[in-house]
Symmetry: C2
Subunit: 475 residues, 2 copies
């Protein structure tokens, strides 16, 4: 490296002649840096172009160009007769410290929201991207596909009809960036249509509630029993929109019964309301084929929402709505003025991935992995905590474990975390003002191997015992 420093008392500029960037660009960058760092104060005079050029061993034209550029950008002021000075308004704000991840020291994390990211089919996705880029029409790289590119909507309609019993025409589908995004879009449109009160499951998905709060939408919790959402209670809420997880209730794992499905649809008809069906992990059922979507029963009253987050990975960031025909234009119009559309490249990739059977192959493989992990967790519970039985269908990526009634959820969570194992309290899934529920934990096994489950549950058994002992001692 050959560096040369200027000798002006105000200004030390380091130029690196071995680097490909032009000397002019280097001079500019160094001057900006000096101004920002406060080494060149507002109002202070710069050397003349001639002096700096001699100093740096460059032609004067290079320095003149650099000064001109920085003057155009507002860093410098050129005053006739008195040379070039640093502009005012270049004071620096203090920068915030970098954030540190909080997960140091956790051996096992039973987070329920995660699929097995190591299982993501990286090569198949790269191949699908190449195929997509080789074949997608140029128009799909443009603006304007508010509902999504046609090829993906066709593939999705076919897939959802075949696998989930959804009655999906491509023109009723809207593709967005995951469940939370598309849920926000349709919720906003329903709110603006005068449906200002929503109902949610209690317990239920916390991020859906956060999305409603962000939109300023009021919601009421509705109990979930062994048949799923209690529709009788829903009727009393005054809500005209309800968010449900019929295939595998989040987090209890209950499957909504046929009777309740019909009650739900009848309720929607009777209040001129809508059901938002969050089909979040319907791909994973281990004992039988998954029960089909409620949407198929009443496509004019049910908004079906799906995502790649569990089937593939959250990092794909695709989600979709199958909308009642009456809502399509309103949701599309709202979408047009917010984020506009979803990456055409990403959509074309997923269309190729669906169309060539990659998703089916991936799901077959992952079902084996997750069944094994579920079995591992259930076996660990039977071994270390035989008095607690996990509830819910043999499906999804998590189980619910009810604790002894005298246990305190957050105490157990804290003690277990201190021992290096992260478990999640049922409280996290509950809207405010719900009826008291027995204490329980939600244990996700999507990214937890059987070996890790065994270790994690053993730790949990110890900390739970300690917590119960301390508690009874206190009484």
């Amino acid at each position: 490296m050959t560096a040369k420093g200027s000798t002006s008392p105000d200004l030390l500029l380091m130029l690196d002649r071995s680097r490909p960037r032009s000397l002019r660009v280097q001079i500019e960058a160094e001057l900006r840096r000096a101004i920002r760092a406060g080494r060149l104060q507002p109002g202070s005079a710069l050397p003349s172009t001639r002096a700096l050029a001699v100093d740096l061993g460059v032609t004067r034209g290079v320095v003149v160009d650099a000064y001109d550029q920085l003057t155009a950008e507002g860093y410098l002021l050129s005053r006739p007769g008195s040379g070039t000075v640093v502009s005012p308004a270049t004071a620096r704000p203090a920068s915030s410290p970098p954030t540190v991840p909080a997960d140091a020291g956790v051996d096992v994390d039973f987070y329920a929201g995660e699929s097995d990211l190591d299982g993501f089919p990286r090569s198949a996705w790269a191949r699908a991207t190449r195929t997509a880029l080789q074949t997608m029409p140029t128009s799909e790289l443009a603006y304007g596909h508010v509902q999504g590119i046609p090829s993906l909507r066709h593939e999705l309609a076919d897939y959802l009809g075949r696998v989930r019993g959804v009655d999906a025409a491509p023109e009723h589908i809207l593709v967005g960036h995951g469940f939370n995004h598309v849920f926000g879009l349709v919720s906003r449109v329903l709110r603006d249509s005068g449906r200002t009160i929503f109902a949610v499951e209690d317990p239920g998905y916390d991020r859906a509630r956060a999305g409603l709060e962000s939109l300023g939408i009021a919601y009421r919790g509705v109990d979930v029993d062994d048949n799923g959402l209690v529709v009788d209670q829903l009727r009393a809420t005054g809500a005209r929109v309800v968010v449900v997880t019929p295939a595998h209730q989040h987090p209890t794992g209950v499957v909504l019964t046929p009777e309740r499905r019909h009650e739900l649809v009848d309720w929607a008809q009777s209040v001129d309301g809508y059901v938002i069906e969050d089909d979040y992990d319907a791909e994973y059922r281990y004992d039988r084929r998954p029960v089909g979507a409620v949407q198929g029963l009443a496509p004019d009253r049910v908004i079906h929402a799906g995502t790649t987050s569990k089937a593939l990975a959250p990092g794909v960031r695709l989600g979709w709505l199958v909308l009642p025909p009456a809502l399509v234009d309103r949701v599309a119009d709202h979408r047009r003025t917010t984020d506009g559309s979803t990456s055409g490249i990403l959509q074309a990739t997923f269309a190729s991935f669906l169309g060539n059977g990659d998703l089916d192959r991936h799901l077959r493989r992952m079902r084996r992995v997750y069944r094994q992990r579920r079995d591992g967790l259930v076996a660990a519970l039977a071994r270390w905590l035989p008095e607690l039985t996990p509830s819910g269908a043999a499906a999804g990526l998590h189980v619910l474990v009810r604790l002894p009634p005298q246990a305190d959820e957050s105490e157990v969570v804290d003690r277990t975390l201190a021992a290096g194992v992260r478990v999640y309290p049922l409280a996290q899934y509950r809207p405010p003002h719900g009826r008291p529920l027995p204490p329980a934990l939600v244990l996700g096994y999507g990214s937890v191997t059987p070996q890790q489950s065994d270790h994690g549950v053993r730790v949990l058994a110890t900390t739970l015992e300690e917590a119960l002992r301390t508690r009874s001692g206190r009484r």
Copy 2:
């Protein structure tokens, strides 16, 4: 194909034994279809499982399974003693007709929002995707990267500092889905902080105004003169946020002068306000290096917003904010409850694309293409409409052409469209209640070859002459 139809009067099910899908799945799909299409009415009885099995030549177990599945999904009801019937609530809504694209018959489209999509570097993007998928950490496939994955934020900070003079630390960057998305995020946060009135350029970017309207934010138009936004007028609006395009005003093409840059920053300081800098096509300047971003002058008062839509293609759907430190957490918190994050795969791909110099190479190539197209359009204007001179810096992807004062913009647009050439009126870029401006057209050349420009402008010259003749005849 071997098909077999059942002979029951109510029910004709077609099974295809040559297809890989199981007979049970086929029976279910056929039954769903028959119920949805109304061929099986609510309440009507299904054949017994035994009869249907004989009819279709399958084992009875297959039919029992299919009935069970459809009962669980709510399509069928099983009544003890009276067999299986179709459930109520299965009526079909009318489906809306498919939309037809409106662009048939347009030979040349001078749309200003588009880059040359044929120039999109498909192979390089596919390679960058493969590299990204081979090297990205598993954690980048998870939830939680609200501001964007670290590798992309580092690459962006480097790129924006180097090419745009932006003072960008990775921890102040937020990556989203294009300009409109990130603009909406920060606008919402500024509104909620009590900055309820915004100012926009007049003329200015129409989709920014639409975004504000969608958020219910009031805005005032501020004139643009030959030095850019008139800051004196801005002071009188009461606004505390302004949206500007300093590098190449959209659509006049004016570059904001150094004096105005300082006035703008001073204004923001004095009202405790913010400048949203839309750096939409700053990569394209043909006569000199582009003037750097205003953000570098006052990183605590300027929100810098950029996107891949012009540099690459709208179908990539990436955009970013460089935020004042005081706003980072609030914007990130809001983002967490709306769409959550942007595809990690897409981000890792762009990080690789930036890091290995692909973007620089692509921009060098496209600058040559666009300069040629701009020259082609300017030459066509000189040839067919020599009395009109395009205005604005030699930059970007469009020019502004002022019409003779007696011309009517929308009449010219309509006549020209009828002749197969789409041009865009200045009116489209104007907020309501602005002062009268002389008629003008905005002509984009990003996807228009010199040959197409010549044809398009020749048509425009004819239709403009007709319009003017009719108009003077009317007087």
